[in-house]
Structures are given as C-alpha cells and as structure tokens.
C-alpha cells in the first residue's frame, strides 16, 4: 500500500474534476457517490498506508515516492513526490477520516442549496489539497497544498457570494493568508540558499551541521516560515480572518476552519522540528505567540453571542495551545492535541450546524435555550465535545491539553509564565464552552414561537457523523495516556521517528509528584470554569448583566474584540488606499503625463514663437538678413 500512497490524492482530485466539470448534468445520487465515495476511498487507502507503516520497525518508517518533476531550474529541483512517515501517516488518516464524515454530513446539511455540486467539488478539491500539503516531501510542493487549501477556503467562505459579508470574508481570508505566505515563500528561498535543497529529509538531517545553533540563519528561516504558519493557523496578529470565515457553510467551518486546514501551520512547524530546534529564539517566539493567542482568543470567546463565533475564537485559542506545545519542544503533544481537537472541534461545529439547521439559520445563543428536549442527539454529542475541550478527565482533550500545559511548565524551554498562559486559557475555555452549552441547550427556551415549533432533530445523515465524532472525542485521548497514569503515551512514541532526537532534547527532569500536582491543578481549573459558567448561566442568570454594567469599559472592549479590525483598517488599509490614490492621481496623471504632455506643449509653444517670424513680408526677411550679416561680420571682425 505504501507504494500506492498517491491514490490518497488521486481519488479526491478525480472527484473534484468529475463533479466540477460534469456535475451539472449529474443526478443527486451520483454527485453524492462521487463526492463521498472518493473521500471514503481516500480514507481506506490512508488506513492501508497507516497499517503498512505500523508493520515496519519504528526506525524504518520512512517512505518516499516520486511521481514526476515539477519546477526544475539549474540546481533548484522539486518534484511531485511524497513522504510517508508516522507524522504524515497520522495526518492523512485524520484528514481523510474527518473529511469523509463531514462529506456525509454535508449531504444532509446542504440538501436544499442550489450550489450543491459546486459545494461538493470545492470540498473534494480541499481534501485533495490538504492531503497534498500533508504528504509533500519538499517545501515547495507543500506550498502548493498550502495555497490551494487557502483557495478552497476562499471559495467556500464566499460560497454564498451574493452576500457581501461572505464575499468580503473570503477575500479577507485569502489576503491575510497571503501576508503569511509572503513569509513562507521567503523562508523557502532562504532555505534553498542555505541548504541548496528544499526537500525535508536532507534539510532535517543536515540542519544540525549546516546551521549554527542560535545563528541568524536558523532564526531567520524559522521566523519566516513561522509567519506563514501564523497566517494559516490564525495566530496573533493574523488571526482576524478566521472569525469572519464563519460566513461559510457550517460543515466547511468544521472541516476547514477547525479540524484540518488551520492546523497546517502546526503541521509545518512540527514537520520542520529539527530546524526550529536550532533556533531557540524562534522557539520562544512560537511559544509566546501560541500562549498569548490561546489566552487572548479565549477571552474574546467569553462574550460572543454568535454560536459559530464562540467556536471560531475557541479554535484560535486551541491552535495557540498547539503552538505553545511546539514552542516548548513538545511537538508530539502539539500533534496529539491537533488530532483530538480535530475530533471534538469538528463535532462541536457540526452540532452548531445541526442547531442552525433546526432553527432556520439562527446563530444568536441569547435567542436559544432549552434545545435539549428538541434535539437530544445533538445535545448529548455537543456535551461530549464540550467535556473534551474543557479538559475534563477521561475525555480526549484532557490528555492532550494537560500534556501541553505540563510541558509548557516542565520542558527545558518551558517557563512558569507560559504555563500560566495555558492554565488561564484553560479556565476561560471551560467557562465559555459551558456558557455556550447552557445558553443553547439548557434553561428556559428563548426561541420565537415559530422557531419553537420548527425545532427538530436533524436527519440521520447528520446525526450519525455526530455520534461517530462524539465517540472519537471521548476515546481519542486514550492513545496518549501519560506514563504517570500508567499509560505508555503511545502516540508520542509512534511519532518519535518523525521528530528525531527532539523528544529527548526536551526531556523533563521533574519528579512524578510535581507532575501529579500540576495535573490536579489543571483539573481543578477546568472544574472551576464549569462551576463559574453554571453559576452565571443556570443559577444566577442575572449575574452576567450586573457584571457587564459594573465593568462597562472592559466589557465593551472585549465584546468588540478589542477593536482590532477597526485598528487594522485605520492604520493599514486606509493609508495604503490613500497612497494608491496619490500614486495614480498625482504621480501618474500630473507628474509623468503632465511632463510628457508638457513637453509636447513646449514644442508647440516654440513652434508658435518661431512662426511669428514667418510673416510673409519681404521687408522683415530683409531686415533679418541684414541683422544676421552684421552679427556674423561683427563676430569675425572683433575676434
């Protein structure tokens, strides 16, 4: 199966081409078969690849497959070629698996949309691009996948393009990502200049000898690449596109803007772990950006009333955790959280979609409440997701998030402050997620009477994926039970070959007692968040309002998302537009054309002047003649 790894890509690509080119002629059933079937097949191949890889000895789990050359120029060589190792094998499994479930779900969710075929062809194209990104064995090929997922994101955010807000959001996503990609592209170039190649395997092998530890080259490469990751994975300061991306259909938010695409930045950093480890400054930057984003986005999540926006800020925050993990050298923990997050966040978004489906697109949680009785499956699965993300012991998020928070404290690159960022973020996470749960599903219904009547459980096509994801969200963490709790942390062991010597470099030296203490603290923090939410939104429902009035200014600041969009607009967008107009109206029209036309006018003017002498009177000519003669004679005589 390893040799056939390209089939993983081929099926979704074919699906895209078939539905994209001929889908308008196809019947619904055929469209579904092509769209879901291609991703399903891709998942099966991924599974085969994964199992084959497991059969190999851990150190032999590295396989490369070359298809055909791509950009070749002098010493610069790239090809369509793929790398299968534990990291990419795990990723294709997660991507194709979650994508398959979301394709199925979408057949229900998008049922009445006139753009049905277009939707599925984009979704297939996305799956292809994401798998390409993950399987690429060189930076430039990864860059294709990287920009192609951005394109699909653009197309799907702006799927309902007649809505201005949707088209705006799509464009914003693409442009903000391009700013990140600017860094990524320069990073690739610098990598080539220094290593003479853009292939992962030689880069990672030779990084320790080619680069100087902590040198400018290592720092520059990694920071440039990280800029790309910041854009794609929506971290400060480039996170602004992700909340707006919620304009897209909800399954898209689940697949692209939560489970897979946005994690590409983490994947890239993890893929290049050996490179980042050569640059301690960059590692610190990664950790700080991640930690701060985790806390910052969570704080915004506290006060949003749009069900999808809460989840969007939560995604930003969780991605921050993953970067925090990478930044302290715990790449395995980051990828572990990436996986569990893919399960529970996809689940949460799909549940939100199910709610919207039931309520004719209503998004405001202040207008919901009491939905538990109308939609039991959605409620229970949402609860599982919430417990997982809040880090309640026994659920997947607990294992992965706790691992990160612990590593932020204990690893060689860790620090108490980094731990604090993570822990404070965890408190907020538990709070806003349970706030969301309580406001949506518990308490008295605040629905309008029409919606009250309309509210219903979603069809099987939608609930079955929910149940599967809920199961994964619960048990997904058991592959990574820490040693402390008697587990073997199998996932990190499995990923170890991909990270080389990394895990040893960040080996912790704290005793089990400290680890246990920290674990207990983080459990208490999570429970504290749940308790607070319970007090605020079930027990004393008047409390939030009182607090908001008491701390008016802070409330307004956070409620308006710290006015970051407004600040960007005033400080960056408007001045640049002004500059553009100056260039055009002033420089082009007045300076350049003005001088060109002025030159023409000048010639005309001189012509006019000279014309005066052509009077047609012989006496004038005679006078001129005499004056000329006098001057010439005078010149020669007086010389």
């Amino acid at each position: 199966m390893l040799d056939k790894v390209w089939l993983v890509l081929l099926f979704p690509l074919l699906g895209f081409l078939l539905n994209g080119l001929f889908g308008w002629k196809f019947k619904r059933g055929l469209i579904n078969l092509i769209a879901c079937g291609s991703v399903g097949l891709s998942f099966l191949v991924s599974l085969g690849v994964f199992l084959d890889l497991l059969k190999l000895a851990p150190e032999a789990r590295h396989f490369e497959k070359v298809l055909f050359p791509w950009v070749v120029s002098g010493s610069f060589k790239t090809a369509f070629s793929f790398l299968v190792d534990p990291l990419s094998a795990l990723m294709i499994l997660v991507v194709s698996g979650v994508a398959f479930l979301i394709h199925i779900y979408s057949t229900g969710y998008m049922h009445d949309d006139p753009g049905y075929v277009r939707y599925f062809s984009y979704l297939n194209l996305f799956t292809f691009s994401m798998l390409l990104l993950v399987l690429a064995d060189n930076l430039l090929l990864m860059y294709i996948g990287w920009e192609a997922v951005g394109l699909c994101s653009y197309l799907l955010i702006g799927f309902w393009y007649e809505k201005k807000s949707a088209a705006d959001a799509g464009k914003k996503a693409f442009i903000v990502n391009r700013i990140g990609d600017f860094g990524f592209a320069l990073g690739i170039m610098l990598t080539f200049v220094i290593f003479g190649t853009v292939y992962f395997t030689p880069i990672l092998e030779r990084a320790p000898e080619v680069l100087q530890y902590g040198g400018a080259a290592a720092t520059a490469i990694t920071l440039l690449l990280f800029l790309g990751a910041v854009g794609k994975s929506a971290q400060i300061p480039l996170y602004v596109w992700l909340p707006d991306a919620m304009e897209g259909p909800t399954p898209v938010s689940a697949l692209i803007h939560a489970a897979t695409m946005v994690t590409a930045g983490i994947y890239m950093v993890a893929r290049l772990s050996a490179l980042f480890l050569m640059a301690p400054v960059s590692m610190l930057v990664v950790a700080i950006v991640g930690g701060v984003t985790a806390l910052y986005a969570a704080s915004i999540g506290l006060m949003q009333n749009d069900i999808k926006r809460v989840l969007a800020y939560s995604t930003i925050s969780q991605l921050g955790y993953m970067f925090l993990a990478c930044g302290v050298g715990a790449f395995g923990a980051g990828i572990f959280h990436l996986m569990t997050h893919a399960f529970f966040k996809a689940l949460l978004f799909l549940c939100a979609g199910s709610v919207m489906h039931a309520l004719a697109g209503e998004l405001n949680i202040q207008k919901m409440g009491g939905l538990k009785k109308h939609m039991p499956v959605t409620y229970w699965t949402f609860l599982m997701g919430t417990l997982a993300i809040a880090g309640i012991p026994g659920f997947s998020g607990f294992f992965s998030k706790d691992e990160i928070i612990w590593k932020a404290f204990s690893s060689a690159q860790g620090h108490f402050l980094l731990w604090f960022l993570g822990a404070a973020g965890a408190l907020m996470t538990a709070f806003y997620m349970f706030r969301l749960l309580f406001l949506t599903f518990h308490g008295k219904s605040r629905l309008t009477p029409e919606l009250e009547k309309r509210a219903h459980e979603s069809p099987n096509k939608m609930t079955v994926p929910l149940i599967i994801l809920a199961v994964l969200a619960v048990i997904g963490g058991y592959v990574g039970i820490p040693h402390l709790l008697g587990g073997g942390n199998r996932i990190e062991k499995f990923l170890e070959p991909s990270f080389g010597q990394v895990s040893k470099a960040v080996e912790t030296h704290h005793s089990g007692g400290v680890e246990l203490l920290m674990m207990i603290i983080s459990v208490l923090i999570a429970l504290g968040g749940v308790y607070l939410a319970y007090t605020f939104y079930i027990k004393k429902t008047e409390l939030p309002k009182k607090l908001a009035e008491r701390y008016r200014s802070i409330y307004t600041l956070i409620y308006n998302k710290y006015y970051v969009d407004e600040i960007y607009n005033a400080v960056i967008v408007q001045p640049l537009k002004f500059f553009a107009i100056i260039c055009w109206r002033f420089f082009d029209v007045i300076v350049i054309d003005g001088s060109a036309n002025g030159l023409a006018k000048l010639v005309g003017l001189i012509g006019n002047l000279i014309r005066r002498f052509e009077t047609g009177y012989v006496r004038n000519y005679a006078l001129g003649f005499v004056v000329g003669v006098v001057i010439i004679l005078g010149y020669f005589m007086l010389r």
Partner: protein, 537 residues
Amino acid sequence: MNMGESFPILTVVTFLPALGIVLLLLVDKNRQLLVRNVALFTSLVTFLVSLFLYFKFDPGTGDMQFVELYSWIPSLGMGYHMGIDGISLFLVLLTTFLTPIAIWSSYNAVTEKVKGFMISILALETGMIGVFVSLDLFLFYVFWEAMLIPMYFIIGVWGGPRRIYAAVKFILFTMTGSLLMLVAILALYFVNQSYTGVATFNLLDYQGIQIPFNYQIWMFLAFALAFAIKVPMWPLHTWLPDAHVEAPTAGSVLLAAVLLKMGAYGFLRFCFPLFPEATIHFIPLFSILAIIGIIYGAFVALVQKDVKSLVAYSSVSHLGFVMLGLFALNMQSLEGSILQMLSHGISTGALFLLVGMLYERRHTRLISDFGGISKVMPVFAAFFMIVTLSSIGLPGTNGFVGEFLILLGTFRENWLYAAFGATGIILAAVYMLWMYQRVMFGKVDKPENQKLKDLSLREKLILVPIVIVIFLIGIYPSAFTSRMEASVAKLMETVNEKYRVEEVMPQVQPRRDFQIDESQLEVSTHSFGGGEIHRGQ
C-alpha cells in the same frame, strides 16, 4: 554555422501571415465571414507550423538553431539572418499561439472595416515574429519599427473614444526610444568596424568584441531606454494604460501578451550579451526601478475604476517581476523571467479576452457597472476565476512558477530586493480579488446585468486552450525550462564567467562553508565577479 538547413522554417513562420494578407487582398471586403475565416485559418496554420520548432528544437545546445543566413545588402554588411534559441523559441510560440485566439475573439467585436483589421493583425504577427527571430540588427530594427504601424492603426482606427490620443501617445513614446536605439545600433556598427574592419550588422559577430566600458554605458542606455519604454518600466509606463483602454480586445491581447515582451527580450538578446559590464554596472538602478514598478503598478491597479486599466497596471507590476529577474542574472531568475513573460502573456491576454467578452455584452468596462455576474454567467465566472488565480500566481498555475523562480533567483543575489519584490504577491491578490468580487459577486442589482448570456461555444473554445496552457506551465514547467536551460547558461556565460561554473555543473551537497551566520546574511548581496569587472571608470 549551420547554413544548409534544408527547410527555411523561420522564414516560413514569419511570412505565412504576410501570405495570408495577400490572400485577403483577393477576397471581397463585403464577405466579412470569409475575410475572418481566411485570417483565422492563416494564423492557425502558422501556429501549427511553429509547433515544429518546439519539437525539433535541440535542448542540448545554447547556440542558435534553424539558422538562415543570406546576404542582403552586402556593401553595408546587412544580412538576412534568422535563428532562435531557447529564449526566443517560446516567444515565437507565444505569438503564434495567441494570434489565432485574438483573431477569433474579434469575430463579433469588430464589424467595421473587417478586412483592414485582419490585414493589420496579420501584418502585426509577421512583425512580431520577425522581431524575435532576427539576428541581424538592421533586420531587427526593420521589424521592430514595421510592427508599430499596424498597431497604430489597430488602436487608432478600431479603438475606443480616445483612440487618437492613445495611438499618438503610443507611437511617440515608442518612437522616442527606437530612435535612440537606432543611433546605438549605428554606433555599434562603427565601433565594430573600427575594431575588426568588417562592416556587419550581424548580432553574433558583435559578441566577440570587447567594447570599452564608457562606450558600453551609453549604448546600453540607448538600447535600454527603447526597451524600458516597451516593457514598460516605471516611470515610462503611462502610455500603456491609455493604449490598453482604447485598443480593441484583440489589440490589447497582442499588445500585452507579445509587444511588451519585446522590451524584456531586447534586454536579454542585445543589452546583456553586448554590454555585459554596463549591465552589471546598472544592476542596482534597474532592480530598484523594477521593484518600484512591481509595487507602484499594484497600488495604482488597486484604485482603478476601469477593468482594462486595472489589468494594464497589473502588467506594469508583473513586468516589474520580469525585469527584477533579468537583472538578478542567475539561472533561476532568468528562467523565471522567461517563464513569467509567457505566463503574463497567457494570463493577461486571457484577462483582456474576458473583459472584452463582458464589454461586448454590456458596452462598459467600469467596475461599478457590474456586480453579481457570477449568478448570470456561471461558466464565464469559472474561466474568469481560473485566469484571475493564474494572474495572482497561485501555485499549480503558470503565474506561480515564473514569479517564484524570479524571486528565488533574486533572493540569492540580494535578499532585500526579493523581499520587496515579494510584496507584489500580496498586492496582486488584493487588487485582483477585489476587482473580481466587485464584478462577479454580490447581488445582480443592475437591471442591465440580469439578462446577460453566458459564454457561447466560440468563446469557450477560445478560452479552453488558454486554461490548458495555464495548468501545463503550472504543473509541468520542466517542459519549458528544459529547453531554456542551455541558452540561459550560454547567456550567463557571456555576461559573467563565474556563473557558468556555479550553475551548469550540478550543485554538490550543501557544504559547511555555505553556512550563513549574522555577518554573512549581508554578504549574500551582490557578488558579481568581484574584482574582474572594473566599475565606473
């Protein structure tokens, strides 16, 4: 030299369109469809014949191929000398590929004086091909100037409301440069004669002589001015938006796709090999002008109200990339520049075609007159999206490969230039997507837009080959770069011995001494030839 080529294929390709003109003269001008078909047929045959060039081309050599050399005016040393290498090959193909498309696109657009129009286009094609295949400077100059005439008519007769202003501006700008170039050609001729005693306009003969640096500077500047206007480089670009806006679609397509390339081609074919030391001397100046062009063009494109002039300014930006790559002078940057020339020709040509299709339906090009077109013309929307993405340089399309190689090559010489140039990638997304959004997305709120017909079969058939080429270059660029490599290597060898050594031999494993630390990050700026070149005498 290979004189005895059995079949004078370059002459045939160059003059087939002229033969078509003869045929057209025989056709009654009132039989418009026949006139159009004859023109289309001629250009298609020309394209098919030119394909032989690609397949018969020997990628292994950087020398001129398919050479034809006949004496023309022996007393003055003027010869009929043609030949192509890996640089001109693709420009010839670009010309022969796009001319039939341009002709076919004007079936409905041009309804008056059809015969004159088709004759102009075919004459233009002969002129364009002639420019790319001439190896005799005098012959080159003849084609270079002759080509202006049909273009002048195309803009001035079949153009928009301000066509006369635009046509005159076009001619004046271009002629100013051309005249200086003529002076420089004559200077070169006499310098060569004084050195070798031979009177010749043969380009290849000139490459052997060592022209003194201070002569080189002036001749370089004279040539460069002519080419820089054509490119157009900032700040000599203002003729372009006017010419584009006023020209009919077919004219815009050929102007953007081929005529602009002549400027960049001129640098490659004449300035670099003839005046290598001057070239190196002027690297900073031209690189900085190129970067200004990239950024400035993008910014001005951003605030345009007319789609055509937006595309015209985007050309200024894209050709800034080409120039940046040319003056980085290494394998990646030069190949990137040549690819970018092709890509720009394809993508921008396609953009003008698409805008023309909209114009035929709505008779306006103002962005604000559109909105929601995706809803009424979904097939058009798909093509427009693909072309927009290729213009933005999305990986997997043609636009990416060229831009990336240019920036990569530039980065190797001067990372700061590359960093500034790369901002153009962000800006391109901004102005193109914003335009696309305003034209295609949103609600159809103008009643005139509600009943627009989607693309006809003819229009689809025009666009399909372009889309194929977009992906061909994007996914399998080695089909192109492999044929350029030897010629580019030879050019670099001429300009600078040092680069040949580094590039043609496959680079060995990264060495430890290649490592860059703090101090060396700055050193990666220019290191052309070090002491062997005497600068600024």
